[in-house]
Symmetry: D2
Subunit: 506 residues, 4 copies
């Protein structure tokens, strides 16, 4: 049943082996500290069955022709990209931010491109492995994430130069039936409640780094996988439950403590064949690229959530008409539109790769993600500004329902008599959850760093941008060159990186 | 010959009656002070005949089926909008900024929509007038601008409340064969070298303002039209001529000193029929809207010109590799991409109006124009930053070729020996022209105010944005409402304004 | 013993009556949830006895000549203002942010000015009450806060216009020996662990609002005072304790549920004498003013803490030499210097009020506080940027010391071999505490709103700034006026507000 | 007569030898193109005799005890620094920006420090030369500028590494009675109308660069000095003259075409004694430092001029009460206050150098200058925003007084009937002069680059800032170190640079 249900997913989770390390314990997936993340994932199943959402949340598999959950789909058309962006936005609205499942779809799309091109160039058979894995994922509506960020040790040294060679995940042993890998992946969000972890390299690799050019997928409770976790929680509610309060996540540093990977789950292995090594960088960037395109869906949603909360609290605070308030809302709304526009335009300018996968334009995608990252703190500042200090000083929920002060708090929280005390309470409680909770704090940081910080998007943009051609305009205007280039920038993709690293190829 | 030539245009210009007031004289169109603006207009003719450009610079007339200059075209499809945006960008590159002819195409498109809908609603015949005018424009490749901005007098009073009733252009007399209008239009760029001036209202009009709800087109040298002008000039070159130095404009305050408008050149007249009055605001906004969409073509071009000059001068200054330089270039490039993306996305989300004209989405268009306006000073700051103080202290061109110090200046301007002294000179001279000349200074202001300042785009965005629906997200997350709206914002257009003003309609 | 000890303070606290409502309970001051705030207050006692700090943390009482804790001092000289600023900065360094005790000193200074001037003008005797209270505060090194922010109800209505008249704290009954007050004060930080709560009006009051023009001081556990509280906590540490982890606070909404105030504790009472009503605004602004001057000490400290953490984590991350890192650190450091400079300059330009109290210049103080508020989110963005995503995904402390993954986490957190895993862990743990904890989130909001948001400082600046005189420069340059004013702005104070409201005075 | 008159200065100018190259001619000082700059200089004489200004514009010579023009004074006290800052601000108001004479006073102060310390350390006699020169300057109220910025050639190479060794000014020959120097100084403002040019190095010099470590002063028309100039002009006025229109400057690239410098005019010469070489960097930075402190006077003035114009035009445009307008004015005013505060605070924290000269704190001075530079484009944006597009499209002055359209233009420029058409015209004409003229454009660039761009202030700040000590705060808070430093940053000066370069000293 390729459009799975939450129940099927949940049943799989609770059947998994406990390997999550939290607060000194090893816990399984039924632990209540996972509930926030699982609630988020639930939306991706429920909405695929919901008439209001299913147009965006399902797709037609290009390998089976069946209707599948879009989170397991490989984009075949521009419309696929438009719909993925829209799905990401709509689901992000429902959870007030990150929908958490995009890592999987982005890793799948990246692998679809890279394994195909590697096989074509080198005669390897990884695309076969990938398609088998994809069929399994689509058939069972599997939730996957992507473990990319190595712990990196000394940032000034390459993987093979580190004093401790395990600072980047690597192959430590080759067996007839598979490989043994060792290392740790940081910032590995949602690992505690995914079915599968897809592992990709975090950067390009040089010839000496062949053992680090490795990619594969394994179940999240696989032998040797140890998930050291950080629960992302909001304040528990007892009286005025609300969607915002149900949302959470669990972040992790996932350790691969000498983990065996069977041959058919491997998608790249530079140690077996050093010609694959340059493809590590290609895969790293391709995942980042699809992931940043996902951000052109979720970041506008996050901005809209903030704008929505800001507009509501401004109304409740009686300041909605003030011109500075309008200006601040317009600023956030404008950002949401621009980042979304970047996603649309990058889809309009997308190209079909040899594998058949549609790849959005890289400069536009990065320009959108960059703006979103640069502005996330400012957006939160605006929300805090319009909400006022109360969001940081609101007594606990329980006090509002205590004998001692409950009634008084309801009396004193009143603003406009047309709005009930409970609704005012709900509004401020929501914003407190959004901004002051541990999960909220982490999400702001994620808004900056998720998918790469603005600094990294700048690097991606400038690596691919043809400055020499751009300079042709100035040279013409200055009279240095007699003719101007027709400067309507070409479609750009991380595949360019491959040419750069082909030099390692012999 | 619907794709006209520069020579035809120029012949028409020089045949016109002198009515341009500059420096105490009344001059005609062959005066050298008009050369800069005419050079810019020339590009719009030459490129329509140039194989590299003609795909974008020509279009197929929906009234005759003939190939016409795109500047005379009414957009019928999304591709028309894409091509208009691209044409605007490519031509703007050629002149290092504003291509000056978009006012005409934007006014034509606005009139195509508004006259049609007004006729449909009120049974008037203005669309007939318009189509006759359009046929003339297309047949002769006529250059038009749009006189919109009234001088406005006291900004706190409506047109009919002003102590001097002429602060907004109005009908002062009705005759059997036409009307007499009086008033003045400020910031009326390019008026001295256009064939036709199209006049539109500058704001919505209330019932008392019926005489101000007037629109028409007349030749720029028509009896009673007095163009008080400001030449926008760059430094004259004697030795190292360059495209940048040929560019200029002529701004104007255009006075309508009791001007007779024949009936067939009138497109709206609230005095004749007060039911037309609300359409003044519709037309004002519709012109602004198409014009702002044009800015999603020219503003990215301007950003790219600045980035191009900044990249070139950074190279010449030997600082191109510095990370702060890369960051600054990335910032400008990212802006160009985002504003361009806003234009693309607003075309993707465009709708065909009842008249058949494609109207881009208003929120996206305004979000793009707003960002461009907000950042223009910052972009200039970056260019000045990377160029260094020399752009403001460079001795005059003549000194570089004088016996006294010419050789010494060439000696001392050298930087990298791989780049000739002349090219370095050309580069700094170009940036000086771009930033320090009077025309350059005016163009920065135009980058802020042209088509409306960011403040006005904010107003446009917020007037049309459905904040109540947006708040539905927060209400759901807070638990105030049980269900969330599918918040994928609807297509929005200035036509909404009409509903608002329909209340005047009886 | 006018320089008290922490033990004396703590003994007083635990002897107080339980009236703090947290989590459904009524708790006393020995509850561990108060420990974070009490730890902060402890610094203000300990440092006054520490040779390194005592120069700044003690002062000479102008009423007794004794050495007192500076937090109980009324500023008599410019050096007092310099030393208060320096004390605030140094103590804020010790707790990584807000030192929490400045509300008391700022309220005392405001009352010293306002009661004196009110008595002089009206013949009242409130300065006597104040001086008696001050003697008690100085003698016992009393910790006070200031309850200013009323809950305000409908922001568009004045106090006396609210549907519920208790939305601003007011006198509801007058008795021979005192008054009964009712209302609630929001954002009343530290109330759970202060000795005394000083109450001041939150805004200017009109003639109809006389009952709201009231000020007084009472012990924090006084009959009828109900403190509904929000504990501000950081993550508990079990293995690597550190100063940052000990810091916390408790915010509150403090309810005055028909509280009796004895006559000698009253500092203003508009109900008894309507001529006092205008002084409510004077007192409100004067407290805000002294408080904002305190922010010119603590905000630079906060910026320096952030810069310090950012510099440390950049070093640990191996990116300290990157030019964008230097630029970001320079930005924060520059802000710290500018805000501190604003405080210094406002002290240089201070004036001695009739009461003898030195009042810093208002425009400079507000300009400094405004900049700090505007930039606090940006500073946090920079810290998050340089720290990386790990601060939001770091496994819990316990995992680092668990049998299961403890050693592995220490292995994988390593960066530069010269820095121990524990120190790297400590560094990221600290930044997580600073940014991701609930207390951390609240402190960022406090950085925006504490003492008034930038919007309010803008209002304060512009209310007192003489724009007409400023325009004299432009009028001279334009030739509109023949002479230019000597525009070296006069010293400005909230006392100006009094003139404005004197109109109510008869 | 140590407080000279404009007439004395002017008489000296016109007696000078023509050596200014403009527009292909060699001109003398009576040429009308110099009038704008001379008008500015005039203020520095006239105000020293004006009762309203003389308190700030005169000082007491520490060498003669006589009253002198403050522009010839060496700062002996904090009050000298305060008064210099105030003088700079007040005079800058009078000319709407740069007062142009500060280069002289800043160079003199720098030389007073450096020659003294060099003599003390090395036993040289340059302070004697300097004091003799100073006596002459003070006695005759001499106008000097400072030629510092070498043309620099390839920025990646040191002076001695350049393909052309003349890219930095150097000693090419030593004679018994003096030296011959060759090179060119760029951005050498005001050179055409100063009495004396003081030459200082532009950067630190290594041992191989000894010939470039040279400093001296010579009359501006000295044999071999060739001034290739750029006139900075505003629009000529014929009908409504105004101070703003009289202001101008003349920038230059000044060539030293083998110029003989007599021994008693030399202040440093590394070629004669390589131990002097490190003092080149000390002098370069010391001049930059005093110059940046001057900017804490003129930049607030510039901000105030912009705010003043913005406030006036907002009033004339009838938008003064709009909240966004208040916010924009508050922003500029706040900047002016903060930059001024940085200057005050840097004087409060100043130290007396061994020479007796007061040196302001370097971090504070740079933080102030940096903020001013970063914001100058934004300030101009605000002014353009509030003024509207008319400033870029205003017909020429002559049209307002022409028979054809003069009366009509006066009619149509009217806004509020309380303000005359002439005054409105004057206001917009002034802003056009300020923003759109060539001189205006150059002045904005000068606002960014004058005295060094924000990038250079960042370098200066970070070179001197003790980041290691700052990190002590984070180390304490994290529990890495047991004690916190008392972090109240020490006074910092460019003298620190000397220690760094002492290594070259043997």
């Amino acid at each position: 049943m390729p459009v799975g249900t939450f129940e099927q997913y949940y049943d799989r989770l609770v059947a998994m082996k406990p390997n999550i390390y939290v607060g000194g314990e090893v816990i399984g997936r039924s632990d209540p500290r996972l509930a926030g993340g699982i609630y988020v994932m639930r939306q991706t199943f429920d909405c695929a069955h919901d008439d209001r959402y299913k147009e965006y949340c399902t797709a037609t598999s290009h390998i089976t022709g069946e209707t599948i959950n879009r989170f397991t789909h490989v984009h075949q058309t521009r419309d696929d990209l438009f719909n993925k962006q829209k799905m990401t936005k709509l689901l992000s609205h429902r959870v007030g931010g990150c929908i958490q499942r995009c890592m999987g779809i982005d890793a799948i799309n990246a692998l679809s491109v890279v394994t195909y091109e590697m096989d074509t160039a080198l005669g390897t058979k990884y695309n076969e492995n990938f398609l088998k894995f994809l069929a399994y994922v689509q058939e069972n509506d599997i939730v996957a994430n992507c473990a990319q960020t190595d712990v990196k040790g000394d940032r000034l040294l390459r993987p093979s130069e580190q004093p401790d060679p395990d600072m980047y995940l690597r192959v430590v042993e080759t067996r007839p039936d598979g490989i043994i890998v060792r290392g740790a992946k940081s910032c590995n969000s949602a690992a505690p409640y995914v079915d599968e972890i897809i592992v990709t390299p975090t950067r390009f690799m040089g010839p000496a780094d062949a053992a680090y050019a490795v990619s594969f997928a394994i179940p999240a409770d696989w032998e040797g996988v140890k998930i050291a976790a950080l629960p992302g929680v909001r304040h528990k509610r007892e009286y005025i439950d609300a969607p915002i309060a149900k949302v959470g996540d669990m972040e992790s540093l996932t350790i691969f403590d000498d983990v065996f990977i069977p041959n058919d789950r491997i998608f790249m292995n530079g140690l077996a064949d050093p010609r694959q090594t340059p493809y590590a960088g290609f895969l790293a960037l391709m995942f980042a690229h699809f992931h940043r395109h996902s951000y052109t869906g979720c970041k506008p949603a996050t901005s809209e959530v903030i704008a929505s909360e800001a507009a509501l609290v401004a109304e409740y605070n009686g300041i909605a008409k003030a011109s500075h308030v309008q200006g601040k809302l317009a600023h956030i709304i404008g950002l949401a539109e621009l980042v979304y526009a970047a996603g649309i335009a990058s889809a309009v300018k997308a190209e079909k790769s040899p594998s058949g996968t549609m790849i959005p334009d890289e400069i536009l995608t990065n320009a959108g993600r960059k703006l979103a990252g640069e502005e996330i703190y400012n957006e939160n500042k605006i929300l805090a500004d319009l909400a006022g200090g109360l969001i940081a000083t609101l007594p606990l929920e329980k006090e509002f329902y205590s004998e001692g002060v409950g009634e008084l708090l309801h009396k004193y929280i009143m603003r406009n008599p047309k709005i009930s005390a409970e609704n005012i309470h709900r509004c401020f409680r929501m914003i407190e959850d959004q901004m002051i909770s541990e999960f909220g704090g982490a999400m702001i940081v994620a808004g900056l760093h998720g998918g790469g910080s603005p600094q990294m998007e700048e690097v991606a943009m400038m690596s691919r941008y043809d400055l020499e051609e751009l300079k042709g305009i100035a040279k013409y205007l200055a009279g240095i060159e007699p003719e101007i280039p027709i400067y309507d920038r070409k479609y750009v993709t991380p595949r360019k990186i491959l040419e750069k690293f082909k030099k390692y190829d012999n």
